[in-house]
């Protein structure tokens, strides 16, 4: 990896030290340019007309996303964010009273809210998978609970929004595949920072977003739908004229591929930006990205411990580019501002994003620092100095 070149591709590196890639990463130049250029085309020639003329370029989205997940273009739907993807998948399931869903304790908060809503609406029941002593999902408990509850669905968040733990999704999928449960994988925080091989996860659905580690534009996401799910006839609760053909007054047919989960109306400018982001990540190489991120993360965690006497709160045998800890005495907003005034973008995550995990960790909120491969060791050094001065304040 040529870091100078990567940074030269990233306009924002001139202005900020961006350690909020788990929020929204800095877009590389080709991504931002793709969005702007497409808007200009639409401005000049009309939205439908430009989409018609660029049908092949737009189609590249599906090929590139398929390459990222090591699957086929027909298994990919374009959506507006990971929650949208997740809920479209969820909406394809018919829930009845006493249906059980099995969740990881570190599932994304919006997922929990969705299940609590399904509980209220349809009387489903939520069961949680226990974690091991090191913090990740206990696959033995998973199998035990699948046998005990025969859940309709198992939901796992690959990397939580509030901690750097990486769940062993392939091991998890290897259990679920032997049972009659749908496996819904939230890969919102993992896509773009580590390889995700759709088939190896044995997931029926995988939701993802572009703005985070894939460095795409905000308001763009993807949904992977397995062949098995497609062939079993899963379709969203509200298909539209993109996802289905209205055949007669009383009949519609869903399209055969994953586009049955899409809406007709699409922000094509953002789709072009997302494609540019996919191609940029694939060119950089996901394995190379993971390797460099691991080096940066190890250094950041070590330096926090060595120079600031701060132990990070992330658990798990495998950890990634989300580093959480407590530092200083300021409020979350003031802490963000403290770093922003020094040209450093970090984020804070509150307990409303991690009711179960933060309860166990006895914290109300944490600092969340999320470097990515285009960040440097020098930037980490500057950040560590800033943490030191935050700690020194009274």
């Amino acid at each position: 990896m040529n870091i100078d070149e990567l940074r030269n591709d990233t306009e924002g590196c001139k202005s900020v030290i961006h350690f909020n890639n788990a929020g929204a990463a800095l877009m590389p130049k080709p991504v931002a340019k793709a969005v702007r250029d497409y808007i200009t085309e639409e401005e000049n020639y009309g939205g439908y007309e430009v989409a018609d003329s660029k049908i092949n370029e737009l189609d590249n989205f599906y090929n590139s996303a398929a390459q990222l997940l090591n699957t086929k273009a027909g298994n990919i739907a374009y959506t507006v964010n990971a929650t949208d993807s997740y809920n479209r998948a969820l909406s394809s399931m018919l829930f009845k009273t006493n249906d059980i869903v099995l969740l990881s304790k570190n599932d994304y908060p919006s997922n929990f809210i969705a299940y609590l809503s399904l509980q209220k609406r349809f009387g489903i029941k939520i069961e949680l998978i226990e974690n091991t002593a090191t913090g990740e999902i206990d696959v033995d408990d998973l199998e035990k609970k699948i046998k005990k509850f025969s859940p309709k669905l198992v939901s796992v968040t690959h990397v939580p929004t509030s901690s750097g733990i990486v769940q062993p999704v392939n091991d998890i999928g290897n259990i679920i595949k032997n049972y009659d449960a749908v496996f819904l994988l939230d890969a919102c925080q993992s896509l773009g920072q580590m390889p995700v091989d759709a088939a190896a996860t044995h997931a029926d659905f995988i939701s993802g977003t572009f703005r985070k580690f894939l460095r795409g534009p905000r308001g763009a996401g993807l949904l992977y739908v397995s062949d098995k799910a497609l062939q079993s006839g899963y379709e969203p609760l509200f298909p539209d004229i993109r996802g289905a053909d209205w055949i007669t007054e009383n009949k519609y047919n869903p399209v055969t591929n994953a586009k049955r989960f899409e809406d007709w109306e699409t922000a094509y400018a953002l789709m072009m930006g997302s494609t540019a982001a996919l191609q940029y990540a694939l060119n950089a190489g996901i394995e190379a990205i993971e390797l460099r991120n691991t080096m940066l993360n190890d250094k950041l965690r070590d330096d926090l411990s060595t120079f600031c006497n701060i132990e990070t709160l992330d658990r798990g045998k495998k950890q990634c580019s989300i580093i959480t800890f407590k530092a200083g005495n300021k409020s979350p907003e003031a802490t963000k501002k403290f770093f922003r005034d020094k040209g450093i973008n970090i984020y804070t995550t509150s307990k409303t994003s991690a009711q179960i995990d933060f309860e166990e960790k006895h914290v109300d909120w944490v600092l969340r620092v999320s470097p990515h491969y285009y960040n440097t060791e020098e930037e980490i050094d500057i950040f560590i100095e800033a943490v030191k001065s935050l700690q020194a304040l009274h």
Copy 2:
């Protein structure tokens, strides 16, 4: 209205005669610029950081949308398109076997598909409201059917995608308000070309989009939620961390205003473009836009009749900027291309968008021409010449 100024504001007027405003209008310069500039800001400083710094500008979206609908900012949700708005509203209703929904025969095709899906999933029943001899919804039949069926929901599309008829929504709402049914109004094709006063419609929900007559970017929409609907506790089936707060492991609270229908992740660049579109339309004046559109439409319909011997297929006492007719012997694709080769953007609509209406009209597809206030009489003259040459082909 200073037409030269309006056209000067519209870059696309230099390149095309755009009569596809019912598909996606030409964005005026401030709209396209707002999207591009915001993307550049995000590129330079980070997505979350820019959203934080522009919180007031982003908030203007709600104020501007409220002004358009003559309502309050708290009744507006930002969405990604009209179908998304419509389905989020639909998702807030608990449907049970034999629940009746009452639809206009000219409802948008995606709406029909959604109800057919609800029929398959929950066993609801669909009943249609009859039209009058002049083609619009028969309010007497509406009231008769409400009394007969006690529908859970009445859905009306203000202006269909496939015909220029304008439904008498205020009269319709004046009936529905006396009964215990939710009124869901699809204003996708009416917002931006005619006044829509939310309170006067008595609608519980109004769905709309930005790319059409509001001249905003693609992939942006709005949902109006009435105070009554909010106070009655309607919330989407899948609220997320924007629309609800996760309070404890087993509890969430929806936010009090219409934002409970939004997702956390948002394409803020498109939201800025949508706000610019709203402000542009409000500055031009919706009444002035409607007046000029009526003049252009009358001329276009008259000229088609006088010079091309073509009678348009649009019905209704009140008609708007969607003009449909049959002309020539080419296929739909070849017909679009014929005009596009002459620098004219038009659209074709097939029966899959209007199973009931086109069955009655005995057509499989139609040409759809949709001028907007920035179009000119000279452009219509050029278009009429093109129609003549299409008709002259064998």
